[in-house]
Structure formats: structure tokens, C-alpha cells
Amino acid sequence: MTRSERFIDTFFKYDVMQQYWPDILKGLFVTCQIAVLVVVCGLALGLCLAILRSYRFRLVNLCIIVFIDLLRALPPLVLILILYFGLPNVGVSLSGYVVLWLVLTLVLAAFAEEIFWAGILSVPQGQWQAARSTGMSYFKTLIYVVLPQAIRMTIAPLTNRTIAITKNTALGMVIGVGELLNQATTAQSFAGNATPLMMATIAYLILFIPVVYAGRRIEQAYAWRKR
């Protein structure tokens, strides 16, 4: 066998591809599903927390800060293992799917809160005063005047962070969630061949390259606002 034949046989073996593509596809579907759930729930929760924080209740804000610091400082895999292996022992049994979703949602919420909050702070005080002087309530000012401006400034960092956290769906492999990487490693050990891993890698590229690219474009489009 020549080198290139051997390479193809290792990473792009046709029979293996044919046999395992349904599994890989199933994994891709699960990955997408969790990703969408995490993005929607994480961003929504993060925004709610940022809004709550803007009311500046001492105790509430302290809790929020501790929450986001914890989730920023702890590796998601640690949280996943604690919930997945620890909770059943105290009578709460969550499936790997739910644990993965929950942990990633909380992590994204923490990062998103921080980004939204920085955005809210960056809106000049005059905007608040102008809106309040026309009789708008605090909440209405926040919703119609401040947040639309804040969110513009947060789009770029938020996109990047969201991509990074969504990719963590691969951690589901460790606790047996049937997502893409898990399907691929299982298939790989059955087939005794690296082709399924290559298929998974390509699937990830197809999934995330457009998002990474979009993120890059958004970053460029909004870069001038940072100054």
C-alpha cells in the first residue's frame, strides 16, 4: 500500500462510511438539538439576570455575581460530572442529556449575563435621563431605550462565546449522551478504524464553520463601535 492509500484507508474508508453514516447523522441531530436548546435558554436566562442585576438589589446582585463567577471559574466537565454522578446518590436522577443541557445553559447564561451587563453599563447615563424625563418607567426605559443599544454592542462577544459553549456539547460523550462525538467514538471502536472520527470532524466543520464565519463578519461590522 502506498502512503496515500493507507491514509485514505485509515480516515476515509468507504465501507465504514457507508455503514456508520446513519449513526453519525443521528449524533449530529442530537448535537444540533442540544445546541439550539442551550443557546435559546442560556441567552434568555443571561438576559433576565442582567435585567435583574440592573435593579441593583444588594443581596440579589451578590448572588448573581457569585453565580457567574462560579460558572466562569469551573470547567464545565467538572459540573457535568458532579451533577451526573452525584445527584443520583441523593435521589435525583437526571439523564445525561438533561445534565448536559442544564450545565451548558447555566454556563452560557453566566457569560451572557456578564456581556449584557457590560453592554447596559456602556449606555450613557444621558439616555436614561432623557427617557425618564419623558415619563417612561425604569423598565420601559430599559427595554425600549437602553437594551437595544446595549445589545448592539454585545453581539460580537456574545456570538463568539456562544460558539465556544455550544461546542462543549461534545462533552456529552463523557456521560453517554448520544451526540456526535459519542456516536463517532463508539463507531470507531467497533469498526477499528478512524473514519468515523473523521466523519464527525467534518460534521463539526459543516456545523460550525458558517457560524464562526458569521461571527467574524459580525465582529468586523461592529468593531468601530468599540471605540
Partner: protein, 221 residues
């Protein structure tokens, strides 16, 4: 409540697990000490390549960066440690981790440096070139120092991410902190060792997280 404490904050088990956890923590620190400088240096190369005047350097760099940003770090690590052996390339867990981190982190650090370089106007380069510095010198002495200062918060928060990512090494049986904790968990059937690992990560990273958000706030105002 008692049950909860027993399962998550079991002192007996924590004391038992202490030596192996400490060893694991040491390995985590070692791993950080290797992969962070490697990522910072690799990122610098990536940034210089992706701002190079020659299109044939810039273009492939951009493609590679996007590739490595699109693949989950764990998938990359598994590919290297479980896929490459089929092609006859057998790496120790440590080498596999280092290689995958180099590829992944260089892409991320590279993007950060590049954003910093973009934030410095071309006027700076032109001024430096006009005094006779060549383009690499202009980059090293004039542009980069300013660029790094501008993106310092991002560098710090990415470094925090890198430290957290070292926990992935546990998946390929490299005996760092989380691996040791999970070993202890599977022997004792108790989650306390992992909670303990969380404690180690907090000690290591909480100050860094505080620093990062302070820096972010300072630069944004």
C-alpha cells in the same frame, strides 16, 4: 441534608483522596505551564501570519484558524489520541494533549492578538517604518506592545478558558486533577472528590475571573 453533605462534602473521603488529588493538581499546573506559553507563542505566529502583507500566507492561516475554531477541543483531542494511532502515529497522552492544545489555542490566541493589531491604526506602522524599522521590527516594538495592552482582558479570559480546558485531558486518561478526582469517585462511589476538584479549580481561577471582569470593565469605560 445530611445525605447531601455525605454525598458531596464527605470529609473522610476528601481526606483519603487528598494525596492523589494533590498529585493531580500538580499535573494540572504542569500542563498549564506547558500549554499556556505554547498557545501564547503559537498565537503570536498565527497573528503575524494572518496580518502578513502576502496573500499566500494570510489566506491559508485564516482557513486553518477557522478550522480549529470550528472543531470542539474535545473532538480534536480524541482525534489526535484515538484516531492518529490508526495511521501509525502513537502519542503519549501528555503529547496528545499538548498537540491538540497547541492547535486549538494558537487559533484562539491568534484571533485575539489579531484583533489587537487591527485596533492599532496603520499610522503607527507607517511612522515606525518611516524611521527605518523593517516590518517585523515595527510589529515587535511598536504595534504589538500597544495591541497586547488593548486586548489584555481577552488574553486573560482566554487563559482562564485554557486552564479550564485542561480538564479535558482526563478523558484521554492523563492523570491531571479531574482524572484523579474521577478515579477517586469511581472507587468510593461518592461525588465528594469531584467537588474537591471544583474547589481546587476555584482556588486557582476565582482570582483570575475577578481580575478578568475588572479588566473588562476598566477598558470598556
Amino acid at each position: 441534608m445530611e445525605q447531601f453533605l455525605f454525598q458531596f462534602f464527605n470529609l473522610d473521603i476528601m481526606v483519603q483522596a487528598w494525596p492523589i488529588m494533590l498529585r493531580g493538581f500538580g499535573m494540572t499546573l504542569l500542563l498549564c505551564a506547558v500549554v499556556i506559553p505554547m498557545g501564547l507563542a503559537g498565537g503570536l505566529l498565527v497573528a503575524i501570519a494572518s496580518t502578513a502583507p502576502q496573500r499566500w500566507i494570510r489566506w491559508p492561516t485564516a482557513v486553518l484558524v477557522d478550522l480549529f475554531r470550528a472543531v470542539p477541543p474535545l473532538a480534536l483531542l480524541i482525534f489526535i489520541s484515538a484516531g492518529l494511532p490508526f495511521a501509525g502515529i502513537r502519542l503519549s497522552p501528555f503529547t496528545a494533549v499538548c498537540l491538540s492544545f497547541l492547535l486549538n489555542n494558537s487559533a484562539y490566541y491568534g484571533e485575539i492578538y489579531r484583533a489587537g493589531i487591527d485596533s492599532i491604526g496603520t499610522g503607527q506602522t507607517e511612522a515606525a517604518r518611516s524611521t527605518g524599522l523593517n516590518s517585523l521590527q515595527a510589529m515587535a516594538y511598536v504595534v504589538l506592545p500597544q495591541a497586547v495592552r488593548n486586548v489584555l482582558p481577552d488574553l486573560v479570559s482566554n487563559t482562564i478558558e485554557v486552564v479550564k480546558l485542561t480538564s479535558l485531558a482526563s478523558v484521554v486518561a492523563f492523570a491531571e486533577l479531574l482524572y484523579s478526582a474521577d478515579m477517586a469517585r469511581s472507587i468510593t462511589y461518592n461525588a465528594s472528590p469531584i467537588v474537591m476538584a471544583a474547589g481546587f479549580y476555584l482556588v486557582l481561577l476565582w482570582p483570575a475571573v475577578r481580575l478578568a471582569s475588572r479588566l473588562e470593565r476598566k477598558l470598556s469605560t
